[in-house]
Symmetry: C2
Subunit: 341 residues, 2 copies
Amino acid sequence: MKKISLLLLLATLGCKQQILIEESLSPTFGIVIHGGAGTILKENMTPTKEAAYRKVLTEAIKVGHTILQNGGSSQEAVEKTIHVMEDSTLFNAGKGAVLNSNETIELDASFMNGSNLDAGAISGVSTIKNPISAAIKVMENSPHVMLSGKGAEDFAATQNLELVKPQYFITDRRVKALKRVKAQEALRNKPISSAETSFLQHQRYGTVGCVALDLEGNLAAGTSTGGMTNKKWNRIGDAPIIGAGTYANNATCAISATGWGEFFIRSVVAHDISALMEYKGFSIKEASRIVIHEKVGGLGGDGGVVGIDAKGNVAMEMNTPGMYRAHMDAEGNLNVKIYKK
Amino acid sequence: MKKISLLLLLATLGCKQQILIEESLSPTFGIVIHGGAGTILKENMTPTKEAAYRKVLTEAIKVGHTILQNGGSSQEAVEKTIHVMEDSTLFNAGKGAVLNSNETIELDASFMNGSNLDAGAISGVSTIKNPISAAIKVMENSPHVMLSGKGAEDFAATQNLELVKPQYFITDRRVKALKRVKAQEALRNKPISSAETSFLQHQRYGTVGCVALDLEGNLAAGTSTGGMTNKKWNRIGDAPIIGAGTYANNATCAISATGWGEFFIRSVVAHDISALMEYKGFSIKEASRIVIHEKVGGLGGDGGVVGIDAKGNVAMEMNTPGMYRAHMDAEGNLNVKIYKK
């Protein structure tokens, strides 16, 4: 109705303007992903490693883009896109997740549907191949939003999800990383090299996430992670916390965060970006900039977010030297990036 | 400095106005508590039971009020006030907490300091006598914000906290309530009486919480709960989620929530109230009203919040027939309430 009235109103204004109006009101779609933020520097990368990341980011986003292009839901696009990153050993989610201080893995994930504000999350699981799907099952088939540990696994076992042994997730790279972090921890307050500091900082990151807008105008957000290397005491980070690591609301935006989780919980990052859009009328870019740089940065934390709004505008904001990320719009334009600049 | 300049500026405006300005800038303090919202109806209460609730609410709030009056911190006031409610079997927190479907208890708690946005939380513990103190220890003595299950207990064991056997928390009343809920669950979709429906709804609630403003102008919020009766799969509700059940920020307010946790997580209740104050300039009362009635209520959820802002203005808002609650201001005026009206 709105579109027709506007077209009638503008019929006298000439063909070019009519097309512009039509474009801005036509359904659109889009998808944005991240594979973790951190001290990702060109000088520490090899061309082979960089190509490997670009390949998986491209493969992942194309899975979701194809779903959206064919009229599929943002929920399905987010879930299937995250599967590709969870199944890749390059990212700190699913296979290839970081190890906790007990040399085991504890995976966290959350999902939110912007059309009805329904949400699901799991924390501390080690036998569910694709944690993002378990989070979605919690949302769809349990009366709860968040399940944890053994209970989350018991629930998942009733949901036709692919289960694996914890060993499935463990990779040599993460075993070595844990040893290196523990060796540094043993040194306590002794000085360590700046290269080692950079390595240690990097062990906090690597979460994957996806946000999408589908042709129905529905937003969705999902986040999946292994948390931080050498984490202790069944620590829960921001990734499975609705409002912190993940938030989606058709009225504003869909956000997935990655970074130093403790600061992202304290800043309620994903919901704060939404609130700045809802209550101040800020764009997704401006809201993301304020929350990442002024709020999280102001507390001394770092990381990044990806976001998309109901018109397909996107944000890929970070206060770290890099963030593995990609955006693909309705026209099929693909933008894969690693470094800040 | 601000106060002195204003007084100088206004020195010529006459005594009355000067006193008004002085009052509004003088340090004040205040404290608000809740012991759960729900279908609390006068017709289901006995005078004895009502008196018992009023007695513990009064005792609890006076502990915190005395701390604040003597110049103690809002953090200490919140912690010690919540101890009284955790130690009472009347509330669903600490001793007297509800039972999960495995006939054991799993306690959750969180705390946030409004002066530096520091926060701590624990979920799913069953051996820590006062969970709110464990949440504070996570904030003070760990690099993390949120710990869960066995890990949270291992951490607590290093923190000089009083540990107890799980049996300590279990009361006859909650054992009977679990049996009654399970009996209804076994009936599945068969019709149940409205009295039983009311009973079942009530088993979702009973969380305790406290918010306080101290003479230094610092806000703090804490929440402690046993969750919901017959909960399954290591469910985590809103109480230990920073942004949902608990939030404090000197720039806006301190909030503690109680209600049907799943809806409070999806609505990011505590942070949304803060955001409405920060970004729209709403009062704490108006912000709480919108979030409880329009946001949570709009999704079909129910419960309530207590809040206090940096000037000592308070909110005690609910969309349930009642909420155990009390407020005490700097002048020592005490207001203890149970029913909505």
